[in-house]
Amino acid sequence: MISLLAQISNGDDLYVAQNIFWWFFAIVTVIAAVKVVTTDNIVHAALHLVIVLAGVAVQFVFLGSEFAAATQVLVYIGAIVVLLLFGIMLTRGSLGDDGLVDTERRGLGALVALLLFGLMAFSLVDGFEDVLLPEDSRNLVEVTTPIDTDIDDDEFIRQTRGSDTAAIGDAIFESYIVPFEAVSVLLLAALIGAVVIARKE
C-alpha cells in the first residue's frame, strides 16, 4: 500500500490498469497462500497451492518474462502439484479435514514468520523505496519475412514484440552452459535417487 501511495504521490507514470490487475492478483495469491498454510484439508491446501503458483506465474508475466511464466505453469502446476496430489491420494484415503495437521508450534511459527517479514519489509522499503522497474524494454521489432515471396510491390514487414525467449536461450547455452549441465545431471541423479528410495524391496 505504501508503494502504491508513493507512486501516486510522486506522480510518476501510473499504469492504472496494470496496477489494478497487479493488486487483484497479488491479493488473490496472498489469500491462497494463507490458506495453503492454514487449511486443515490437505487436498484443499494443494489446490490453493495451484492458485499461488498461478499467481506467481502471473507475476512473471508482469515482469515481462513469459518464458518463465510458461515454465512455471508447465512444471509446477502440470507436474509438481500433480505429483503432490498423487502423493496425497496414495498416502491418505480419507476425504475432508484431516484433523490435527498443525503442530503445537503455531505461536513459534507465527513469531518467526512475523519477525522475518518485519525485517525483510524494513530492509526492502529502506533499500528500494521508490525504485521503478524500467518500462517494458521489449519494443516492437520489425521482422522481415524469412524468404522473399512473390509480392513485388512493397516488402512485407510484420511487427512482433521482441522476445525474452531467445535471450534466455542464448544466456543458458552460452554463459550458463555449465550450470545447465549440472542441473541436468542433478535431475538424472534425483530421478534415480527417487526410484531407489521409493522402490519396494
Binding site: 503442530t103 508450534r105 513459534l108 513469531l111 519477525l115 525485517l119 552452459i177
Partner: protein
C-alpha cells in the same frame, strides 16, 4: 593422404606467442588424432568386440598400429620442423604460404635474446626455433571464462607419443597370447585402448584442465586394469589402493593447478603459465607452493617415496599392463608433468644454482630406498616394481637438479628396457604359473633361451653397463647433477653433490638386486613343485586352459611373446646411442651426437627455462660404471659363488645361504626386517594413521596423563592442601560455596530448560534456524 603432404608445411596462421606457432606440418597440428583413434577403438571393442573372431583384440591392435605409424610420422615431421623452422619462417616472410600478419608476428614474437639465452649454456648449438606447434579450440565457456582444449606438440610430446604407442603396440601383441582365454579378454583390450588414449591425451594437452582430465582418466584405466581379476580380494584391494593413493596426490594436483590458474591471470594455458613463471610475472612464493602441491601429485602418480606403496601392490594386474604402466603410461605421467610445467618447477624450487631442493631430494631418497627394498622381494614383478620406483627416482632427481634432457632421456631409455624386463618376467611367469622366484623359478635359462637372453640384455641396460641404453642416460643424469670437480666435469645448474653420491650408490644397488633376480630366476635348478592349483588363478586363466602345462616343464612361447621381447632387447641395446656425448667416437660429426637433446629439448622456446648443460667426463663415467659393477660383483659373489656352491653341496637349489649375514649380524637382521616390512610404511598408513587415534595414541595419552599430569597435579595438590585448609575455613565455606552452588543450580536449570529444545523435531530446528538467521540479519542491518 600421402606422406609428403603429411609433412608439408601448411598455412594455418593465427596469432602466435613466443615459443609456439599455430602453423606447422599437418600431422603436428592434428595430433588429436592419436588419442582419438584408441578412444574410438575402446568404444568399438566394448560394443562389438565380443562378436568378432578375435574377441576385439584385432581392433585394439589395428588402432595401436595405426597410431604407432602416426607417431612415427609425427616424429619425422617434428625433426624436419625442428631443423627447418628457420627456413619455414623465411618462406613465411616471403609470403609464400602465410599471410603477412602471421609472418610479422612470428618474427617479432621471437626476440633473439630468447634464442641466445637458451644457447648460452651449450655453446654453439644453432639458433633453431624448436617452436612448439599448437592447435586449439574452445571447449565451452562459462561465466566469461573460456575453457580451451588443444594440442601442444613439441619435442617432449612427440618423444612420448613414440614411446607410448611403441610400448603399447608391443604390449597389445604380447597380450594376445598372455591373456588368451581370459574371461574378460575383450574388456582387457578395451581398457588397454582407453589407457593408451588417456596417456596420449595427457601427452598432447595444451591446457592444465585438459591435463587433469587425462591424468584422472589414466588413473581410472589403471584402476580397471590393476583390478582386472577383481574376483580375488587382494587384486581388488590393490586396485583400490592404487586409486586411493592417487587420490591423495590428485588433491595436490588440483590445488597446485588452481594456484597456477589464479597466479597466471586466470589461464589454463600451459605455455602461458610457463612463460609467466619464467618471466618472473608470478610471485616466487606462489610458484613454490604450487610446485610443492604438484610434487605431491608426482609422488603419488610416479610412485615417489613415501606415496610409492601402491606401485608394488599394483603388480596384481596382468603383467603386460604392468609393463605398460611402468614403462610408458601411468607412472611416467608424473615425470612428464614436471617436464611439461618445468618453468614452474624450475623457478618454484630455485633449481638453478642451489645445492639441494625438495624434488631432487625426494628423487634421491626414492632411488636409494626403493633400490634397497628390491633386495627382499621374492616376487619377480615386485622386484621390478621397486626397480621402477628407483629408476623414477633417478628421473625425478634428474629433473630436480635441472638436467631436463637427462631425465627425459632416462625416461625414454627406461621405457624400453623396463618394458622388456616386465614382458620377460611375464613370459617366465606364464610358463611356471607363478611370480615367486624362490619357490617356482630357477634354472629357467635352459627352458626359455630367448627370454633369458633378452632379459639379460635388458638387465645390462638397466644396470647401466656400457654400451647399453641405461649407461648413457644414467651417466647423463650423474653429469647433470652439477659437475663435481673431482671428476673434471663442469657446468650444470647447481652443485648437487649429494645427488651425485646418491645416484652412484643407486647404480650399485641396481646392479646388485638385478644380479639377484637373474640368479634366482635363470640359474640354479628348477624349483617348481607340483602345486599348480594355487597358481592357475594367479593368471586368472580358467584352469582348463592350462591343463596342458600342468605336468611338464616350462618352455618358450610363441612369436607373440618372443618378438616383442627381441624388439625391446634390441632397443635396449642401441637406443642409448641416440644421445652420444659430443666428441665421443663421433669426433666432430655434430649430426651424430646429442640427437635426443637436439630434437627433443625445447631449448629455444620461451616457455622453457634456459638450463645449463654439464660437460660429460670420462672419469665420472668410468667411476660410476665401476661402482655399478662392484654391486654386480658383490651380488655375483654371494649368489653365483657362495649360494651355488652351497646348493651343490646340499644337493638342492637354494635361494640364499641357510645362515647368511642377515641371520648372523643383528644390524643386518634388523635392516632386513625393515626392508621386508617395507619401512613399515603400510603399517604407518593403516595402523598408525588410521588406527592410531583409537589405540596407541590413546594409550600414550593415558600414560602421559597418569605419570606426568597426575604427578604434577598430585604435587600441586599436596602443597595446596595446606593452603587450602586455611582458606577453607574462612572464605570458602561462606563466599565461594555459595557462588558455586548458585552457578550449579543455574546451569542445571538452564540445561533442563534447553534440553526441551533438543526434541528431535526437525521443524522446530528449522524454526530455530530461521529465527537465528533473522536475528543475525537484523544485527547486520540495524547494528552494523
Amino acid at each position: 593422404m600421402s606422406l609428403s603432404s603429411l609433412l608439408l608445411f601448411a598455412a594455418d596462421a593465427g596469432p602466435a606467442l613466443p615459443g609456439y606457432t599455430f602453423a606447422g606440418p599437418w600431422i603436428l597440428r592434428n595430433v588429436w588424432l592419436l588419442p582419438l583413434i584408441p578412444a574410438l577403438s575402446f568404444l568399438a571393442i566394448l560394443f562389438f568386440g565380443k562378436r568378432l573372431p578375435f574377441k576385439g583384440a584385432e581392433i585394439g591392435i589395428a588402432s595401436v598400429l595405426s597410431i604407432l605409424a602416426l607417431a612415427i610420422v609425427a616424429n619425422i615431421a617434428w625433426f624436419d620442423h625442428r631443423d627447418n623452422y628457420e627456413s619455414e619462417k623465411a618462406e613465411d616472410a616471403a609470403g609464400l604460404l602465410l599471410s603477412d600478419e602471421y609472418a610479422t608476428v612470428a618474427i617479432d614474437g621471437e626476440p633473439d635474446s630468447l634464442l641466445l639465452s637458451a644457447d648460452a649454456g651449450e655453446g654453439g648449438e644453432a639458433a633453431h626455433g624448436s617452436t612448439a606447434v599448437r592447435n586449439e579450440a574452445t571447449w565451452f565457456q562459462s561465466g566469461g571464462q573460456e575453457f580451451k582444449v588443444g594440442t601442444l606438440v613439441d619435442g617432449q610430446a612427440v618423444m612420448m607419443l613414440f614411446v607410448v604407442t611403441f610400448i603399447s603396440t608391443l604390449v597389445h601383441v604380447f597380450s594376445t597370447e598372455y591373456v588368451a582365454g581370459d574371461r574378460r579378454y575383450t574388456h582387457y583390450f578395451a581398457f588397454l585402448s582407453l589407457f593408451t588414449a588417456s596417456m596420449l591425451l595427457l601427452v598432447v594437452s595444451a591446457s592444465t584442465i585438459q591435463f587433469i582430465t587425462a591424468w584422472e582418466l589414466v588413473g581410472v584405466c589403471s584402476f580397471a586394469l590393476i583390478g582386472h581379476w577383481w574376483e580375488e580380494k587382494p587384486n581388488s584391494d590393490a586396485a583400490l589402493k592404487a586409486f586411493l593413493t592417487n587420490r591423495v596426490g590428485d588433491i595436490g594436483l588440483l590445488v597446485g593447478m588452481i594456484i597456477l590458474f589464479f597466479s597466471a591471470g586466470q589461464t589454463f594455458d600451459i605455455v602461458k603459465i610457463n612463460t609467466m613463471a619464467l618471466a618472473g610475472e608470478i610471485p616466487q612464493r606462489n610458484l613454490t607452493i604450487a610446485a610443492l602441491c604438484l610434487m605431491a601429485a608426482v609422488m603419488s602418480k610416479s610412485g615417489q617415496f613415501i606415496l610409492h606403496t601402491w606401485l608394488p601392490d599394483a603388480m596384481a594386474g596382468p603383467t603386460p599392463v604392468s609393463a605398460l604402466i611402468h614403462a610408458a603410461t601411468m607412472v611416467v605421467a608424473g615425470v612428464y608433468m614436471i617436464a611439461r610445467l618445468y618453468g614452474v618447477f624450475f623457478v618454484g624450487f630455485s633449481i638453478e644454482g642451489s645445492p639441494v631442493n625438495p624434488m631432487a631430494l625426494i628423487g634421491m631418497f626414492t632411488l636409494i630406498f626403493a633400490g634397497l627394498l628390491a633386495f627382499v622381494q621374492d616376487d619377480i614383478k615386485k622386484v621390478l616394481a621397486y626397480s621402477t620406483v628407483s629408476q623414477l627416482g633417478y628421473m625425478v632427481m634428474a629433473l630436480g637438479v635441472g638436467a631436463w634432457t637427462a631425465g627425459m632421456f632416462h625416461l625414454f631409455t627406461h621405457a624400453f628396457f623396463k618394458a622388456g624386463l616386465f614382458l620377460g618376467a611375464g613370459s617366465v611367469a606364464h610358463s611356471v604359473h607363478s611370480f615367486d622366484m624362490k619357490k617356482d623359478m630357477g634354472g629357467m635359462r635352459k627352458f626359455m633361451p630367448t627370454t633369458y637372453k633378452t632379459f639379460i640384455i635388458c638387465t645390462l641396460a638397466l644396470v647401466g653397463i656400457f654400451p647399453f641404453a641405461g649407461f648413457w642416460s644414467k651417466d647423463e643424469i650423474l653429469v647433470g647433477t652439477g659437475g663435481w670437480g673431482l671428476f673434471g666435469g663442469t657446468g650444470g645448474n647447481g652443485n648437487y653433490t649429494l645427488m651425485l653420491i646418491g645416484g652412484i650408490f643407486g647404480a650399485a644397488l641396481t646392479g646388485a638386486y638385478m644380479t639377484r633376480v637373474i640368479y634366482l630366476t635363470f640359474f640354479g635348478e628348477f624349483r617348481h613343485v607340483a602345486h599348480h592349483d594355487d597358481h592357475a588363478v594367479d593368471h586368472g586363466h580358467a584352469d582348463d586352459a592350462h591343463d596342458a602345462h600342468a605336468n611338464h616343464d616350462p618352455h618358450e612361447h610363441g612369436p607373440a611373446i618372443t618378438i616383442p621381447l627381441i624388439l625391446l632387447a634390441g632397443f635396449a641395446t642401441l637406443i642409448g646411442l641416440v644421445n652420444l656425448p659430443p666428441g665421443f667416437i663421433t669426433g666432430n660429426l655434430e649430426s651424430w651426437q646429442e640427437r635426443f637433446f637436439h630434437f627433443y629439448e625445447p631449448s629455444a622456446a620461451a616457455y622453457f627455462p634456459a638450463i645449463a648443460h654439464g660437460t660429460p667426463s670420462y672419469t665420472l663415467a668410468i667411476f660410476a660404471s665401476v661402482v655399478g659393477l662392484l654391486g654386480v660383483g658383490l651380488a655375483y659373489f654371494y649368489y653365483f659363488v657362495l649360494v651355488d656352491r652351497k646348493s651343490k653341496a646340499m644337493g638342492e637349489s637354494l635361494t640364499e645361504l641357510p645362515n647368511g649375514p642377515t641371520s648372523k649380524f643383528g644390524i643386518l637382521k634388523a635392516g632386513h626386517t625393515l626392508l621386508v616390512e617395507k619401512y613399515y610404511l603400510d603399517h604407518l598408513y593403516t595402523d598408525v594413521i588410521a588406527g592410531g587415534t583409537k589405540g596407541p595414541l590413546a594409550k600414550a595419552v593415558y600414560w602421559f596423563n597418569q605419570n606426568v599430569l597426575d604427578a604434577t597435579v598430585d604435587g600441586v595438590g599436596r602443597t595446596s592442601v595446606i593452603a587450602g585448609k586455611a582458606v577453607y575455613e574462612h572464605i570458602d565455606q561462606t563466599v565461594i560455596d555459595g557462588a558455586v552452588n548458585l552457578s550449579g543450580v543455574v546451569s542445571s536449570e538452564t540445561g533442563a530448560g534447553l534440553r526441551k529444545t533438543q526434541n528431535g523435531k526437525i521443524q522446530q530446528y528449522a524454526a530455530y534456524l530461521f529465527a537465528g538467521a533473522t536475528l543475525l540479519a537484523g544485527v547486520l542491518i540495524f547494528v552494523i
